[in-house]
Amino acid sequence: MFSRWNWVACGFYLVLSICSPDASGGLVQSCGHIIPESPVLALGSNFTALCILNESCLDFGNIYASQIIWKIKNRLVPKEQYREINRTVSSVTFNDTSSLATPLTCNILADGQIEQNIYGITVTVGLPPEKPKNLSCIVHQESRFTYAMTCTWNPGRHTFLDTQFRLRYRWPEQIFPDCIPKDVNNSCTIDDTQFFVNTEIWVEATNALGKAESDPLVVDPIDIVKPLPPQNVSITSGLLPTVLQLCWENWISDAVMTLKFNIRYRIVGSTNWMEVPPEDTASPRTSFSIQGLRPYTEYVFSIRCMKEDGAGYWSDWSEEKTGITIEDQPSKGPPIWRIIDTSQSPACWTVHLIWKALKPHEANGVILQYELTVRDKSSLSSPVKKYNVTSTNHTLQLREGTYEVTLIARNSVGPSPPSVLLIPASNSKAPVKNLRTLPKHDKLWVGWTAPNNYVLKYVIEWCLMSSSSDCNIEWQIVLGDVQGIDLKGIKPFKCYLITVYPLYADGQGSGQSVKAYLKQDRPSKGPTVQTKKVGKAEAVLTWNHLTVEEQNGFIRNYTILYKTIDGNETVVTVDPSKTEYTLSSLTSDTLYTVRMMASTDNGSRTGPDFTFTTQKFGKGEIEAIVVPVCLAFLLIVLLGVLFCFNKRDLIKKHIWPIVPDPSKSNIAQWSPQVPAKHNISSKDQMYPEGSFTDVSVVEIEADDKKSFSEQDLKPFDLLKKEKSTSEGHSSGIGGSSCMSSPRQSVSDSDEGETTQNTSSTVQYSTVVLNGYRDQTPVQVFSRSESTQPLLDSEERSEDHAGGADSTPQRQQYFRQNGGQDETNTDRPCFDKTKQITHANEGDLVGFVQLQISGQSSQPLGLGMEKNTQEAAVSNVLQTCTEGQTVRPETVEENPLSVDEMPKSYLPQTVRQGGYMPQ
């Protein structure tokens, strides 16, 4: 029990003893301390610390050195490093201080368990300073009287400690205050530098672990001066155009230091400095004349100085000053060239004289004017013409000839040497050979081979080719020993036309030209192709050349690419000089797509697509088909015609059947009782051809009706019946006749006699509308049926070729009009008619006169037996052929008696112009 309370009391005391204020002045009275207190240790060295316990703590706390433990920060130091020296002292040893850290604490385990801190120290680990090296000093002149010496050195390795550097200097018998660097550890500046005394300078580095000194530098500061550059530099133009005088002031008096100088200069705008030879300026001075300069040229000057003996440093270059030399005479004449325009007239030249302004180093001043002299060498009597020009070109109107042009440039000092240009009447001399170009970076080299003769100069013309504007010529003159120049300012992808002229002493050679590109590219567009002509298997393509701006290079070839919609593309390469190409072996009636590509050395560009369709038939194919067909047709027609001609009789028989001879009609059996009262021939005259159409008139005298026997009329009845079913057959003749009115037929008949006889005659007529073959007649008049036997016979004659056989008897009752209509009858009819004609001389009055026009029946043709009325017959035939009409002919007949009329015919009222329908 006691022991427990005793331990508690001891612990409490220990805490109090550690925490209670120290009676000696501290707040805390420690139970111990560590030796050494806050040491600074060299990195890598060994270190031993001692923890010493106070005796008082031993008495009250029962703590001993054996209970001490060491810690670095919170890390326990291995006990192998401890050593108990006595009951109050414990030591710890570190073989390498690099393992140390802050804080190092001495602790005690109270009661074997409670850890209490006794003391702690801060351990600083670092390195001693190294010997400063490479000490060097320079004295900067700051003003006319002040010099500051700055010394720099290498401070050496990092020490991890606070290290003081100080620059120290002294004279043999005088030590100056140290120079302590500010913010740096490798340089320091001494303001009050004194010259002409050897000064010992060194650097001293000091920290907690030691001190180090550099090797001393013994130097007279005057030997390490970097002076200020000369000031107030001025430049004065001298009397000579190649001299400028440079003046300046020095900051350092000769008493202190004598100087030597460097002078440099350059032309304004140039970056290349030239320097006056150093030996020329190696002595003290304040001015210098610079010679060998260009006249009328602005120069920039700068100067620097240093100690004459070379000890020390060069000053900085002074501020730059400019000066300009005075003018001098131009050193050479301007290069001159000409452009001759003979567009107005070959004999009248427009000469554009052009020359280049002299370069500054050639002009040597401001060119005030150019003096141009033109002498006609072809005419010695011609006066020399002089011109004063301020521009660089002049245009003259000259006659064709040889001229010598002299040009002088003049400035304020004087004239230039003359430039002479000979303008011959013709460039008949030898040209240059082998003109060629070669791109060189941004320049275009032009080379040529000299002609055999001696050449004074060469003129090189070049111009940028353009499709929209004239070639703007640039030119250059080079001496005769040059055989190649670099053209500058050449643009890439542009075509230049370069021409070289050799100039001889007595003339000029013709120019040789070459086109060139500095750099080529592919064309900016492709050609636009189109068809000029499209055939069945070929197509002619045309295109325009690309403009020179579009080419971007030499067009090496054109490529035509064409294909069908689903076919493979075909490629054709075309010479670049062509603008037309014919595609062959194309498929007919096919849609083709074609495009064109222009190619340079650097690429190609394709133009737009163009489509066309080949034709279905080739050229001449249609003609080859149509012409033979036409020819065949014509041949067939011709053959047909010939056939028809040969068979015309047969055809005629089919088309125009033989008209039955009325004289053979039955009616003819009684016709002799009717006296004919009219003259047929006269009737022909009364009814000219064409005056009757579509009318068939049969005039029968009423008195003669009786003369028709029943027998005679039977055929009429039969015919009437047939008529009702086949009027169309008769309409071809009589139908058309029916379209004429009875009145017309009357009026168109005998105007005189017939009209007089109408009162005593009965007119019979048949009017058939639309009567042809199968067409049904609209109207039939009964009177016309008097002619029905005729038509009936007519139709039957068609059905029966040479049908005169069937109607021989009836035909004999008819007679043709006065014999004219005999042409329409066959020979038998004619013969019959002749017979009747004889009978009619007095008896055949009232017989129907029927005139059938145009129906000549060749087989029945007109034989040599024609009567005297043959001519009239031919007239009738002609008329009928033309008009295709049947011209009825009024026949004066004696009217038949009513009794004699056949039953099937009802006599109409005998009244002129009237009809009595049945």
């Binding site: 043999p172 009050d192 004194q194 010259f195 002409f196 005394v197």
Partner: protein
């Protein structure tokens, strides 16, 4: 001067002479500039005549060309030691009067003081090369003997004395250049005519 001089000694002597000449030249230039600044700053008349400064040997000497080299060096050393003391006194008085108000003049005085000290060092080295003992400074001797303190001068008197010191120093600078050139000749004969009397 030793008749048999080692090459290194001769080289050293020539070097010392050369530096001394240039130092004297620079010192004269600086003193002339300092005189202008001093007259202006102190409000004095540049043409004011000043009596000879006590303790400073006069630069002018009657038979300068008859002096030996050692004699020249000794006279120069005595003079510059006197100047060193006077300039140090002037610098102290300057600081007392103006404090840091005119640091430029003070720096110039300090610079001249340094040059005077340096020149004195040159003279001592030359004397050593002459194998001659270097005389002790009077001030030290006086100090050891307990000399009476210098009389307290008025401010104006201080200014005038300073002007006199600078003027005399300028004169001495000229003479020193001539003396050193004389000494720098290859085979100087004691008491020989100076021959070239180049002005600095």
């Amino acid at each position: 001067m030793a008749a048999a001089e080692s090459p290194s000694a001769a080289l050293r002597r020539r070097d010392l002479c050369s530096r001394g000449i240039r130092l004297a030249g620079k010192m004269r230039a600086d003193v002339v500039d300092l005189l202008d600044a001093y007259v202006e700053q102190q409000g004095l008349d540049a043409s004011a005549s000043v009596a000879a400064v006590e303790g400073v040997p006069l630069a002018a000497v009657e038979r300068w060309d008859e002096q030996t080299g050692t004699q020249r060096l000794l006279e120069n050393l005595a003079a510059y030691r006197a100047f060193r003391a006077l300039l140090a006194q002037m610098l102290e008085e300057q600081r007392e009067q103006l404090g840091e108000a005119d640091a430029g003049l003070g720096r110039a005085l300090a610079a001249v003081l340094l040059q005077v000290s340096a020149f004195a060092y040159h003279l001592e080295e030359l004397l050593r090369l002459e194998s001659r003992g270097i005389p002790g400074e009077e001030g030290d001797e006086e100090e050891e003997d307990g000399p009476p303190p210098p009389p307290r001068l008025s401010l104006f008197e201080q200014k005038l004395r300073g002007l006199g010191v600078l003027r005399e120093l300028a004169q001495w600078a000229v003479r020193s250049v001539r003396d050193l050139r004389q000494l720098a000749k290859p085979s100087p004969a004691t008491g020989a005519a100076p021959g070239l009397a180049e002005s600095p």
